[in-house]
């Protein structure tokens, strides 16, 4: 067995609010392999976004460890590019193109002419060539999200971290974006760690799904979901998996094994 790209072992995450110490996740284990579309699924308050932030290096675990390529994660870094749910992740003072090229310039991972080529290519891939010199405030939500994805992918990170990236989009745009993400994955075979609270989105996007229980987040199950996408909605397999996930998430961990 090849070793995992990302390995989380016994991760307990805690953060302080002014009055409480909140335990967001409790001893979570999971590992993501090269080329996975790994989805973390759970109801709100299960600490899934916090978990993603910890992988991003924004918050150290209170217990356990997260390793990428066998190196402990201690701080944010461009090997783990994040795509956030909010639209304000783009820099309003830079055009779409400048936003995409910015991380490549800052990290000096690519020579400047190569960075320019990569930025153009990434923008073309998400279908925004016409809008490359437009500032973010003139773009729609879906377009901003595509710029954010292009920005993250152009840098070729080891893993792409997506925190409910389509949650703030309308249903039609969301479906298009899901399809686009999948077709991009078909071309490029990147590794993505994707957080969502939607069972349907998890099944469509994920090749592997980690189910977290609510408050604090603990691992409930890890399921295979490869081979199911939009075209499978309405098929018996899709329905079965969806019901199974539903049962796992809402039976409070007592019995009802599928």
């Amino acid at each position: 067995m090849t070793s995992a790209l990302l390995d989380a072992k016994g991760v307990t995450l805690q953060y302080k609010t002014p009055r409480h110490l909140v335990t967001a996740t409790y001893r979570v284990d999971f590992s993501v392999h090269q080329g996975d579309r790994y989805v973390i699924l759970g109801p709100s308050g299960c600490g899934k976004s916090t978990l993603l932030k910890a992988v991003g290096g924004f918050m150290p675990p209170a217990e356990g460890s997260i390793r990428i390529r066998e190196r402990e994660i201690t701080s944010p870094g461009p090997d783990r590019m994040m795509v956030f749910q909010e639209f304000e992740q783009l820099m309003p003072w830079k055009t779409a193109y400048q936003n995409v090229i910015f991380p490549m310039k800052v990290t000096r991972k690519f020579a400047s002419n190569e960075a320019a080529e990569r930025a153009e290519a990434a923008i073309a891939k998400v279908g925004l060539t016409e809008f490359r010199d437009i500032y973010p405030h003139m773009l729609s939500g879906g377009m901003k999200m595509r710029v954010a994805i292009a920005r993250a992918m152009a840098l070729e990170p080891d893993i792409l971290l997506m925190d409910e990236p389509f949650a703030a989009l309308d249903a039609l745009t969301r479906r298009t974006m899901q399809q686009e993400l999948l077709s991009l994955w078909d071309q490029l075979r990147f590794t993505v760690l994707f957080v969502t609270h939607s069972i349907e989105e998890a099944i469509i996007i994920g090749s592997r799904i980690l189910l977290l229980s609510p408050h604090p987040g603990r691992v409930r199950a890890e399921l295979d979901a490869g081979g199911l996408d939009h075209t499978s909605i309405g098929t018996p397999e899709f329905g079965t998996l969806s019901q199974r996930i539903h049962a796992l998430l809402f039976d409070n961990g007592q019995g009802a094994r599928a």
Binding site: P76, G77, P78, E86, Q89, M91, P103
Partner: protein, 291 residues
């Protein structure tokens, strides 16, 4: 109302799209009139002209050039003093002092805010100092400045720094604080830390507040300078615009006082509506951070 009531059955309908030819092009360029009327500069100019007309009419009706000279008389005096170089000389002296004070004020503000961003203690130091000194009128410090630095430019620079520093530091700090968390995280995500993080993420993201601070600081500095020159310009060897006004008042030459005030106003207008306006259209307006 009857809760059992169901809405009536209505026929479905499909309609052929209405012909839009009657409104002409869906997108058409604005006419010249529409563009001129909507132009900011034109509107401002109209307001200015209206004010001048009111001034001229009132002054003529009053007919007392010792109390309230007409616009035309003020402009004549203004033109005369521009031509003989007095006003230009005075203005230049003022602007030079102002530039020195403003630049030092901004530099100190940069130091303080960097300190405040770097640590919690720095933030507390800055907010305490700002709370203490921001309400203190710069002119109230002038007697002290005169004792410390003597008569002349250093005293003026000192009070200008005082009036610029706190306003700019306060605005910049509140701008830094209001940078969205997501934007901060996406900056740190690519590995930015320290000065690069401040320069590449925080400063542009807080630019609307910083610009507002710069504007307020500029206005405070200009006001403080003119006021300070009025107070002790008498003994300065080469006076500024405040001294020019003071001299004219001593001679009961109200038209010259007015032309001095007009100069102050004109410089304020130019800086605000030319320099700051240009910065705004190239930055915060272009980026959609401010409407």
């Amino acid at each position: 109302m009857n809760p059992q009531q169901t809405p009536p059955q209505r026929p479905e309908l499909e309609v052929k799209l209405a012909d839009t030819a009657v409104i002409g092009d869906v997108e058409r360029p604005l006419t010249l009139y529409e563009r001129v009327a909507g132009n900011d500069a034109v509107q401002r100019l109209t307001i200015l002209v209206a004010l001048i007309v009111v001034w001229e009419i009132y002054a003529r009706w009053l007919n007392n050039s010792l109390l309230f000279p007409t616009f035309s008389e003020t402009v004549r005096t203004f033109g005369k003093d521009i031509a003989n170089g007095v006003l230009i000389d005075r203005t230049f002296t003022s602007l030079r002092t102002l530039a020195i004070g403003y630049a030092f004020g901004l530099a100190f503000a940069a130091v303080f805010t960097t300190m405040a961003v770097a640590s919690g203690t720095g933030t507390r130091i800055l907010s305490t100092l700002t709370a203490m000194f921001n309400p203190l009128p710069a002119i109230a410090l002038l007697p002290l400045a005169l004792i410390w630095f003597g008569l002349g430019t250093p005293s003026l620079v000192f009070v200008i720094i005082h009036s610029v520093l706190w306003a700019v530091a306060l605005n910049t700090l509140s701008g830094f604080r209001s940078v969205p968390e997501t934007l901060r995280m996406s900056g740190r995500n690519v590995g930015l830390t320290g000065a690069r993080y401040v320069g590449l993420i925080l400063i542009p993201a807080a630019f609307p507040s910083i610009l507002a601070g710069l504007k307020i600081g500029w206005a405070f500095a200009w006001r403080t300078l003119v006021a300070a020159e009025l107070v002790f310009g008498v003994s300065a060897r080469s006076g500024g615009i405040g001294w020019y006004i003071f001299e004219a008042r001593n001679d009961l030459d109200t038209a010259t006082v007015f032309s001095g005030l007009l100069t102050v106003i004109l410089i304020g207008l130019v800086v605000e509506s030319v320099i700051f306006r240009a910065i705004e259209t190239r930055t915060v307006n272009l980026w959609g951070m401010q409407r």
